[in-house]
């Protein structure tokens, strides 16, 4: 129970930080915000890595697929966000 409460504490505080920080993002950058936050949500990758590296064959297969899709999410997300933000910077 103790670890659950600790995890919930982190969750609630992070939600509040999120609301405060993201409220300040201007509408111009809402598309990069969506794609960038998308990339961050690919953080599940770290769980996928452990799963893919285990001895159990079934979890290895699940893990492999998870690593592939999570990496697409991460790499694709950050890269496309970079492409967009670069276009905003060009003329600034």
């Amino acid at each position: 129970m103790e670890s659950l409460v600790a995890a919930l504490t982190v969750f609630m505080l992070a939600v509040f930080v999120g609301f405060e920080v993201i409220r300040k993002v201007p509408p111009t950058l809402h598309t990069p915000l969506t794609s960038g936050s998308n990339a961050v949500s690919g953080i599940t990758l770290v769980g996928a890595l452990v799963s893919a590296g285990t001895e159990n064959q079934l979890t290895t297969i699940l893990g492999f697929v998870a690593v592939v899709v999570a990496t697409i999410n991460v790499v694709g997300g950050f890269l496309v966000t970079h492409r967009m933000l670069h276009m905003f910077k060009r003329k600034a």
Partner: protein, 461 residues
């Protein structure tokens, strides 16, 4: 050693928070995005030292395949197709959460540091939200691509069916919590949630897509946060909840810009309460169609022009032509600004990205609240492929389905030029009296083609 790993995870989490903070301004945004990628790299590298990892072959293969596909997608995608791209990526994030939570259920000791009950409850959440995100996103992708079998499917009892599916999913979830070793319940839960994901996005269409994209974005974050509870990993919880918050804020902004509630977007059908005028009553004999030459003459005396882009500009890929027109007008000494409605396009900020792609400085692109007061001093307002967001009925007719929706007041400009393929109604399905207004000129045709003709006519005059 575990403390070192957790310390690096903390650094990664801080990087993610700073990523969002840096997005507050276009100048700092590029670097903040790189910081986010760096944080992710740190997290991945330190995870590879996990003592439970016995072989690296599968991991490396997965990373290589994923990176190649991700990079290919990111570098190839057209800026107009950004909503589809984001939908797809959202889905992958959700899908990964489903698989990781499923693995954790199989290899409880290896994967999860949490207590069994926490792990089981979080796995259920991760599987449910993740599967809804994955299939909902794929459905959204198909709808955005306008695949013909993906029409807005609506049938009687749809919401009852969705509610029943959700109840079944929760029931299956209770089974998982009761006996986490019987993994079949988990996969049954995933199957039911997948169906729920498809069915809940199916009826939503067109101009409501921005809300769906934001919501799915939020879900993908919440799924990651739930996986964080499964693995008892604070960094996942922090990263996931940041994304969850971001998606929720954006959906709120979108709903407000349409003067509708979230439930209305998700379940409601747009209908007005009052008597609707037919398009014949509104348009008959009052619509003035103008040639490019006639429109070009307006710019001989104009001093201020505001361009209002809509989804039609994206469809006809007209952003570069719009830039050419802008440069031409500016060369004539005319002040040109852009007015963007929050829900223009198929995702938040869609128009801003397209204009940035065409090298239009972001200072020149104004938000609705900023530009609206300037329309009375504007000589020509050019509307390109937008409809509902410039429909004055929102202000005047309380019975209209878009009543109370904030709009761009282009009708207050001296002359309004509307570039549009036909008089067909927008998403709200109602006629637009703007097209029949005494100060409006219609330029019928595909956005890009019409603008090219206009540019030609201005150069000749």
């Amino acid at each position: 050693m575990a403390w070192i790993v957790n310390l690096v995870y903390l650094i990664a989490a801080v990087c993610f928070i700073l990523t969002f903070k840096g997005l507050a301004h276009p100048r700092t945004a590029v670097r903040s995005n790189q910081l986010g990628a760096f944080g992710m790299l740190l997290a991945v590298v330190v995870t590879l030292f996990d003592k439970h990892i016995v072989s690296f072959g599968t991991i490396i293969a997965g990373l290589v395949v994923g990176s190649a596909l991700g990079a290919l997608l990111a570098l190839k995608v057209r800026m107009t197709a950004m909503p589809q791209m984001v939908a797809l990526l959202n889905g992958f994030g959700g899908g990964a959460s489903v698989l990781v939570a499923g693995s954790a259920l199989i290899e409880v000791e290896v994967m999860s540091g949490a207590s069994l009950t926490q792990m089981a409850v979080a796995t259920v959440a991760s599987g449910l939200i993740g599967a809804v995100t994955f299939w909902g996103s794929l459905t959204a992708y198909a709808k955005l691509e306008e695949w013909s079998f993906m029409k807005d499917v609506r049938f009687k009892g749809q919401q009852v069916l969705n509610a029943a599916l959700l109840l079944i999913a929760v029931g299956l979830g209770a089974q998982v919590v009761r006996d986490p070793s019987a993994t079949v319940w988990y996969w049954a839960l995933v199957a039911v949630s997948s169906l729920l994901g498809v069915l809940s996005v199916m009826p939503i269409g067109g101009a409501d897509m921005p809300v769906v994209i934001c919501l799915l974005n939020s879900y993908s974050g919440l799924a990651a946060a739930a996986t964080g509870f499964v693995l008892d990993n604070s960094m996942l919880i922090i990263a996931g909840s940041l994304v969850g918050a971001s998606g929720i804020i954006l959906s709120q902004i979108m709903c407000k810009a349409m003067n509708r509630s979230l439930t209305n977007v998700l379940f409601g059908v747009m209908t007005g309460s009052g008597e609707q005028q037919s398009s014949d009553q509104v348009y008959a004999g009052k619509v003035k169609s103008a040639s490019p030459e006639e429109v070009a003459m307006l710019f001989d005396t104009a001093r201020r022009v505001v361009i209002v882009p809509g989804y039609g500009m994206a469809v006809s890929q007209a952003q570069h032509t719009v830039r050419d027109l802008t440069s031409l007008l500016e060369a004539k000494g005319i002040e040109v600004e852009f007015g963007v409605h929050p829900v223009a396009g198929r995702m938040p900020g869609h128009m801003n990205v397209l204009l940035a792609e065409a090298d239009i400085p972001y200072e020149q692109v104004k938000e609705m609240d900023e530009i609206n007061s300037s329309f009375p001093q504007t000589d020509v307002a050019i509307v390109i492929g937008a409809n509902d967001v410039v429909n004055p009925l929102a202000r005047t007719d309380p019975g209209s389905p878009i009543a109370g929706m904030p709009i761009l007041d282009v009708d207050k400009a001296k002359t309004v030029v509307v570039v549009k393929r036909s008089l067909s109604p927008g998403f709200a399905g109602i006629p637009n009296p703007l097209f029949a207004a005494h100060n409006t000129l219609m330029m019928f045709g595909d956005g890009k083609k019409a603008l090219l003709e206009l540019i030609g006519a201005i150069k000749e005059s």
